[in-house]
Symmetry: C2
Subunit: 336 residues, 2 copies
Amino acid sequence: MKIALDAMGGDQGPELLIDGALRALRRNKELSIVLLGPEDLLKERIAQCVDSGNVAGRLLIEHAPETVTMEESPVEAIRKKKDSTIMRGFDLVKNGQADAVVSAGHSGATMAAAIRKLGRLEGVSRPGIASLFPTRKTPVMLMDIGANVDCRPQHLFQFAVMASSCCALLQNKKSPRVGLLSIGSEPGKGNALIKETHELLRQSNLNFVGNVEGRDVYGGELDVVVCDGFVGNISLKISEGLAEAAMQMLKDEIMKSLRAKIGYLLIRKAFTAFRKRVDYAEYGGAPLLGINGIGIICHGSSSSVAICNAIGEAAKLVENKVNDSIVKSLRQYITA
Amino acid sequence: MKIALDAMGGDQGPELLIDGALRALRRNKELSIVLLGPEDLLKERIAQCVDSGNVAGRLLIEHAPETVTMEESPVEAIRKKKDSTIMRGFDLVKNGQADAVVSAGHSGATMAAAIRKLGRLEGVSRPGIASLFPTRKTPVMLMDIGANVDCRPQHLFQFAVMASSCCALLQNKKSPRVGLLSIGSEPGKGNALIKETHELLRQSNLNFVGNVEGRDVYGGELDVVVCDGFVGNISLKISEGLAEAAMQMLKDEIMKSLRAKIGYLLIRKAFTAFRKRVDYAEYGGAPLLGINGIGIICHGSSSSVAICNAIGEAAKLVENKVNDSIVKSLRQYITA
């Protein structure tokens, strides 16, 4: 199996991404990784890395001289930068030279490049992005988190089918519990979009538990939560913002007394473990679902462990043929 | 000034609400409070309270034998229970026997009763609920948090005008900074509703800072954030859910080692202060804006301090004639 990794994406430079790749190679002996980026630069950076697991033979380079910056519009970026890491990555998948792409770069451009190069899966109206949110129990997959802002019921319904298939594979769940994000658990609660989607989901053979509220996202009793990309993106960003602000406020309070400062020294290890548990950047990546291939978007501030996890996720989705499973699930409803 | 308090609302029974009323009376000598509820029951409960500030003379009772339960639909509740605490409260305001209503009960029914009894303010298409969110700096007011699920640009625009007027009074801000909740700060980002609303806000004389993202809600750089009631309710509930889950996860980590447990004992005071800072239930109440009168909804789990704060808020809005200010602001745009 061969995974292409955008070595120029992410906020922290190629060293961290190469480190993530080496970790993934040590973990999975069946894997090769193609680093996407300027050849000379990557050769130089790889030479600086310590190859503790003797895995460099499985680390390849694909020359991609251009990088999409975070300020660019996705449409402009894929039109003008044909030799960017992201575009070259999906070229490799299209030509059968790689099985999946992982990028911590511009998520909009990655999605646009994936659709342009690979097209949509049979039966899919709108591909979307599925992201894992931490909970006290197992993580919950929210879809869509930003690719589709104005949705129709059929789109949300397809998100449910796709995320359910993906979640079943990634978390080895036979029948993931699917909730529809609304403002009350009763079937009649929500806006027009939600009311119609509720009906579609109720009539399906998905394990639909009904409408769920914002509170339930972090409750740990759900596997998949369905929403449009506008609501999903705001849910994700508001969670990140709250987590950060709360940490700062707690720090402010601790700094007010010596006693609390000493307490903090004793508690620090638990704190670090906690931060890791709630840090979105640690949760591997967000799969692009609905494209005719495998692509995973990582948070820009991902650690090398998160990059390694995302590569592992990509391999799992390739190996288990997630797209076959999605097409099969969707076909039930089209022929029905 | 006379504020009516729903003594049967809230999760914790009338004692806590009466305690909140007594606190408010001790704090403000100009105030009278009318408790709404079954007369005999309230008399009995008041007799059990210690009137440390000698304020009981300003604590009145209005007999309201019925209570709306959380399970009832707002429409049913106001149709069938004409003698409920909520309906009697707005009757008092309508008849000039009270200046405002505060309730920690059923928020949908409270909003419905307010519209039914008092009607909408001149120029207002849709009244809504404005709620304060804690940040590291001053709290930010989000509107709407649940009253209106399917909105048009004009509705969101009016929310901005109303919340800006209210925020200016409650927080003594001359020109509150208003952001429009979207999925990117650029004017073109967001769904169709947001793009059109952006234009309306840009052309207004509000202090409009542009689109803001979910992350910015807790950043402390905004005074008002505008969104529809669907997005606002999910933002509020997801925040509450995350805060609760994060606390649990941190506790889990602390319980894993003796060292951390000891640290926790030293840090506990800072922790309690922090919890109070991020607890929505502590932030007074959420004003109903756009109705022809003053109404404030409190969280069901409000403490007596929060109830006291909400009563203070209501008094401030009455005293400063928030509705005159809203009508005046809206009139600018109607005649323009």
